[in-house]
């Protein structure tokens, strides 16, 4: 059984935001409302000569124990057999409880107004109804054997996708040997996006 995980190497992320651009075009996200399925945070730490700049890409962590799925009252949020957490927009009533439940700030509303703007912005908009939206690991691409748009676009090779159940896969190895670590693991969400910390 495939279990998709993503590993992001913070040492090779240069903050070019190509992943954000690729994702927004692939998934027609409402960028005009400053809503992104993936976002690269630009942070500084330290002071004086020891100041450092950090680029931290954020996206849905496709948790194995997703709180967004538990709180969803209609069953619109579900988990596929390959471990990807998706939203069925026809079932989602947009109560936004999932956005409050998510510790990774991964969800945002795709509103009626966004759909109207999206039709002008993207031309043929695939979305028909408003709903909560989030990263899908580009599940439509995975199904035909392609990598997510952000992984394929990343110029530094910072983003890697693999199968955690395939121990021979380099991504699985990074997770299993502890090189890559999850975010906010203490919350018990069992995230499937791992980060190689900055050295």
């Amino acid at each position: 059984m495939t279990r998709y995980v993503m590993v992001i190497d913070l040492n090779t992320c240069v903050g070019c935001n190509a992943c954000m651009a690729a994702c927004s075009l692939e998934n027609q996200t409402p960028v005009w409302s400053d809503h992104w399925r993936t976002y690269v945070h630009d942070r500084e730490s330290g002071a004086g000569n020891s100041v450092r700049r950090h680029f931290i890409p954020r996206l849905c962590n496709h948790c194995s124990n997703p709180p967004c799925m538990t709180v969803c009252p209609t069953g619109a949020t579900y988990r596929t057999s390959d471990g990807v957490v998706l939203v069925d927009e026809s079932l989602c009533m947009g109560c936004q409880a999932c956005a409050l439940a998510c510790p990774y700030k991964a969800r945002y509303p795709y509103t009626h107004a966004d759909i109207k703007t999206g039709k002008e912005y993207y031309g043929a908009l695939r979305r028909k109804a408003p709903s909560m939206d989030k990263c899908s690991f580009c599940h439509h691409r995975l199904k035909v054997g392609e990598l997510p748009a952000c992984v394929r676009t990343c110029p530094g090779g910072s983003r890697m996708l693999g199968d955690l159940d395939n121990a021979a896969h380099p991504v699985a190895e990074l997770v299993h040997n502890g090189t890559a670590k999850p975010l906010l693991a203490h919350l018990g969400t069992r995230p499937n996006v791992y980060y190689i910390p900055q050295r």
Binding site: P67, T70, T74, E89, C95, A97, Y195
Partner: protein
């Protein structure tokens, strides 16, 4: 990775706090008035006021939630009874069913009294509806099953009052919300505000039609509930001060805000507690002190939820 930023949410704001307030209070109003009628003393007036005001509060609260939905048609999935079978792990799914059946059971429980009430029958639209043959038949059937309907309302009402806290508890990222004391606090507050509302009703609208012992009992129970609320708030204060930075920041947001300290803790809890104690011990007589205390309790009930929503702090590693 280290936590680098702390932030609060801006999706569920005052309108959601009002929903939690009206939902909890409306449900508790129905539970308290029905229990009083069924097991303490026959109080038809109290039942009618409790049922109608409770249903109105629940309707208004649910209506506000509905207006905020992105895709309103999809709400049908939580209003159908089998929705709960599809999502038994979601508190919103449970809460929607509780609220729906509570409103139906509350109206049916009060209907036999309403069709006999001359003053209601003289009202323009409601009076005409109550005079309809089908409504009278439904009322006659409901009268035969009144105990059953009462218990359906009591169980779903308790469920609704608890649900308002369980909903916040199900968000793991916020220390202030994700702990077992939240449903207790919100339930105690729901029943305290319901007592306050029913005291206002009994002192202002139906003073001569309700037995004085009921009013006296409610005042005493409300004193106990406000005291319990103060104890839970104090334990919250201690809990958030140590353990995690997110909880500490929530405590800072709350206790540095005069709306929380003066508005909720002082004016919404302490002052009404002192006023009700003076009324119970006979130092203050008349309607004004107890009605004023009850109005302060109501404002405190809303402020509790308002500041609780506003002070939920998320900790992010970016």
């Amino acid at each position: 990775m280290e936590i680098m930023s702390y932030t609060t949410q801006d999706m569920w704001t005052w309108w959601f706090a009002l929903y939690l307030f009206l939902g909890g209070m409306g449900a508790a109003v129905i539970v308290v008035s029905f229990l009083t009628h069924m097991y303490l003393r026959e109080e038809k007036e109290l039942v009618m006021w409790g049922a109608l005001s409770g249903v109105a509060m629940l309707g208004l609260g649910s209506g506000m939630l509905f207006l905020h939905l992105l895709h309103k048609w999809a709400a049908i999935y939580i209003l159908t009874p089998w929705g709960i079978l599809h999502k038994p792990d979601s508190w919103i799914a449970w809460g929607s069913q509780f609220i729906l059946w509570l409103q139906i059971a509350a109206v049916l429980f009060a209907l036999p009294f309403m069709v006999e009430k001359p003053r209601l029958l003289r009202w323009p639209i409601i009076g005409n509806v109550l005079k309809m043959e089908i409504v009278r038949n439904v009322a006659a059937t409901a009268a035969r099953f009144q105990t059953l309907l009462g218990w359906v309302a009591i169980i779903t009402g308790l469920g609704t009052a608890v649900y308002t806290g369980l909903l916040l508890q199900s968000f793991p990222a916020v220390v202030l919300w994700h702990n077992p004391a939240v449903p207790i606090l919100f339930t105690v507050s729901a029943f305290s505000t319901s007592m306050a509302w029913l005291l206002i009703v009994m002192y202002v609208f139906i003073y001569h039609r309700v037995d004085h012992t009921i009013r006296a009992l409610y005042e005493r129970v409300d004193i106990g509930l406000i005291t319990a609320e103060l104890v839970v708030i104090y334990s919250f204060f201690n809990y958030t001060l140590s353990g995690s930075e997110s909880g500490y920041r929530s405590a800072e947001l709350l206790w540095n805000d005069s709306g929380w300290v003066l508005g909720f803790v002082v004016c919404g809890l302490m002052i009404p507690l002192v006023m009700e104690l003076r009324c119970v011990f006979g130092r203050w007589t008349g309607k004004v002190p107890i009605v004023t205390a009850s109005m302060l309790v109501l404002s405190g009930g809303y402020l509790l939820r308002h500041y609780f929503m506003a002070a939920g702090v998320y900790a992010y590693p970016w």
